[in-house]
Subunit: 375 residues, 2 copies
């Protein structure tokens, strides 16, 4: 094994140019409680794109460097720099999750126990050929499970399960999900069918509607349809959903969901109240497919909240026992409930080509890339 | 005592006309656990205007009826009817709070004990000459306190105390308040000075800034100033406030507050995170001085929430013991901490003149009307 290896890094320069490059870094030696993982597969999730390219204007993207050491550069608009000043000059490794083989381990029994195992890993820096992590950060995969099958064992599975756990913890009875035809959305749909949780899927295209219905979804509404408000209200009436998870963030959708929830609540009131219903309605924004402002028409009384939802914060709140129960389920159902599908596989160098970027950078539903750092 | 009395009622007609009128209603006889209060003073709060005039277009207001039985009519725009369909055809009494003398009481000891006492009352229908309520809905005022002094003993005092209690219950250490020069804002300022709670007051005019500083406020920032963002950030840095109460609702202010809170939190981070800080930041919208949409630029990570805050919902959550402690303090400090000042006194009939409406309907800071139903 060479003592250096390749890693993708994202660097914001003072001159407002974002530089994403392939760097050569030392292969670390694991401490007593650590293992060294040879990373064989790591997905490109929407949450990775935010760190890879930040708020750079990707229409200005250009390829520099060499085929072996490619670099992508893009300009950052002046007004978009403010949100990233904290990272100027830092070469940041990228890649939230991945999977591979444990090729070295520290002396602790927990580390030694993982030697030779195929494990899923969460914790950043996975667009690397090698990654050194604490043993508890690894999810040992069942015998016969491949690194590719385990590459997406954390972000989407734990987010989808986290939505259902949040529903239980906060006393709601059903869920609404936007951008519901996504890989994550399909996973949530499978969990909800298995667990008997009523789910309202909001999509943007007729073909996504058909896809989810084919997958057994009972409630699918199209936000681009003229009848969207009525359709959504009807689905909320049937399910009793008062909790929504929104991947889009910008625009009027979060407010529209709250308004339709309130319409259902008001139908069930005995007397008029100018303060609206006292049914508590919650929208969590967990993504930013639309970076424009969230615009909320407050036509739904005073019993509501819109807030951010982030997996690490949720896990901290959920506690260790709940998290372990969730992880066991992921390992047990990795090739069924939590299966991910990839439309393309790219090496570290291939990920930094304009051709690949033009596809995975669009965040189109149905497109999902897998980085294979050993290729 | 006559067996009928006068009461202000607000009626939304099918033809999209809102009709606010003086009606003659029977004087009720108290049940065993009830008392009959002769209402002597009831304030016009912003929260009353919402029920009085709803979403009617008040530029179309006209006076009909007679001087003894005045009526104000106003048209409701078609798109504003949707929010009020629940009240069509119902003559709704108005007036959230007031004070007066108990002139009749049921047989229960708790009711009999109030006979002849001056009491504050919460529970609607206070723009009436008489109001029959359950004995526990009354706050007996201390000897020598007048009905006028007790008229506003509930909405503003309990809201201001409720903000501080919310801060404690939710683990924040300081407060931000918008429209801070209001009657309520001045009350909150007095409470925070007495209790040693750091408070950031946001106002919109230089003279309001001066007023609050004269009242001992340590942190006052003017949202109309060019330096608002910097001023607010500095005040948040000094106070550590991560909780704001916003009376305005519409526009960009709620998002701006969250953004400045995040800027302070990010200053204290060791390493850059593209997810922002994990410091939880909350804005509660408790009013609607601006009915336009709330527009939120989500440039403050994922650890945030914007939600509605309504006094009755808060009290339910706070529980009986906390509420009684709050009410005792209001009674004890009614002529100091919780004193309200009125700029005009109007009879029930005078309240329904275009002249009076043109002043109290504007909800201008510093203007507060008192209805005196016995005049």
């Amino acid at each position: 094994m060479s003592d250096t290896a390749l890693q993708i890094q994202s660097l914001l320069r003072e001159d407002r140019v974002l530089e994403v490059r392939l760097a050569e870094v030392p292969v670390p030696a694991p401490a007593a409680d650590e293992v060294l993982v040879r990373v064989e597969a790591a997905p490109i999730n929407p949450s990775d794109l935010g760190l890879l390219f930040g708020t750079a204007d990707m229409t200005t993207a250009r390829a520099t460097g060499t085929p072996e050491r490619p670099v992508i550069e893009a300009d950052v608009p002046e007004n978009a720099m403010r949100m990233m000043t904290g990272r100027i000059g830092q070469a940041l490794p990228v890649g939230n999750e991945g999977a591979g083989t444990v090729v070295a381990a520290g002396d602790d029994p927990s580390a030694q126990a993982l030697m030779g195992r195929t494990v899923g890993v969460f914790g950043g820096e996975l667009y690397s050929q090698y990654r050194c992590v604490k043993a508890p950060q690894c999810l040992p995969l069942h015998e016969g499970t491949t690194a590719e099958q385990g590459a997406s064992c954390f972000v989407n599975p734990m987010t989808a399960l986290g939505m259902v756990e949040t529903m239980v913890m906060e006393g709601h009875k059903a869920l609404v999900h936007t951008a519901a035809a996504s890989n994550l959305g399909q996973m949530l749909n499978r969990i909800c069918i298995a667990d008997g949780v009523p789910l309202v899927n909001i999509v943007r295209k007729p073909e996504q509607e058909a896809l989810l219905r084919d997958l057994g979804a009972a409630h699918v509404v199209n936000s681009a349809a003229d009848s969207f408000g009525d359709d959504l209200t009807a689905a909320l009436r049937e399910t009793g959903a008062t909790l929504a998870f929104d991947a889009i963030g910008g625009g009027r959708l979060a407010g529209t969901i709250l308004g339709c929830m309130e319409a259902v609540a008001v139908e069930q009131m005995d007397a008029y109240s100018r303060y609206g219903s006292d049914v508590f309605k919650q929208v969590y924004i967990y993504g930013a497919l639309d970076y424009t402002p969230t615009t909320i028409n407050r036509n739904f009384g005073f019993s509501w909240a819109v807030g951010g939802w982030l997996l690490p914060n949720f896990l901290q709140r959920a506690g260790g026992e709940r998290m372990q129960r969730m992880q066991r389920r992921v390992a047990d159902e990795l090739t069924s409930t939590f299966a991910s599908h990839y439309t393309a596989r790219v090496s570290l160098a291939e990920a930094l080509t304009l051709e690949a970027l033009s596809v995975y950078g669009r965040q189109a539903t149905g497109q999902k890339f897998l980085v294979t750092p050993q290729a």
